[in-house]
Symmetry: C2
Subunit: 103 residues, 2 copies
């Protein structure tokens, strides 16, 4: 779909890409975490996009889930907020971001 | 407003009342917390209500915030998820619920 192509283009253009909704506290937590570890990242607020529903359908196809936050590092989806926190607790989040060139 | 009256009626009808959205992880966290402490509570999923926007405007007027989750104990708004967690960490949440007759 157009939206699938759009997502692939975005996640390959920057090391860390976060698809978010401005109204969502879980997305805020993810931003706080990324800010805490000091990586550069691109945030797309999908609730401000008229194609939001189609984007979420594309997330489902591409990543198995339609939820936000949806986090991509080095072009690969690492999941949502819980996944990012889990990776960080294992000491892996910073490494993934470094290897992708985000810090 | 009609919505303000509706909210007041609801929060006075049950000791613990949670206004929630089915799509919101912060609301899920609050439900988990209330389940953990074992209190009885009434949940209204406002995103399934056609008057959702007006309900949120009424929350703003009545409680100072329009966000979910919006938690009422003994007819009084104790705030959102962060507030409930903070109260619980201080050992106060269970007491409030007990005093209101929720457990
Ligand atoms: N465990 C997931 C939860 C993801 C989730 O349920 N996200 C909600 C918002 S908090 C969502 O996308 N709901 C559907 C929607 O907004 O369309 C995570 O940690 O990211
Ligand atoms: N700190 C607040 C955050 C509340 C908040 O920002 N809620 C979001 C959803 S997570 C919200 O209601 N956004 C506006 C909306 O959904 O209309 C809490 O702990 O409850
Ligand atoms: S919408 Fe409430 S945590 Fe995501």
């Amino acid at each position: 779909t157009e939206e699938s192509d759009y997502i692939k283009k975005k996640v390959n253009a920057e090391p860390v890409v976060l698809f978010s909704k401005t109204t969502c506290s879980f997305c805020s937590l993810t931003k706080d975490l990324l800010n805490e570890i000091g990586v550069n990242y691109y945030v797309e607020e999908i609730n401000e996009n008229e194609n939001c529903e189609k984007l979420q359908e594309a997330f489902k196809t591409l990543t198995g889930e339609r939820t936000v936050p949806r986090i991509f590092i080095g072009g690969k989806c690492v999941g949502g907020n819980s996944d990012a926190c889990s990776l960080h607790n294992q000491g892996k989040l910073v490494t993934l971001c470094k290897d992708a060139g985000a810090t």
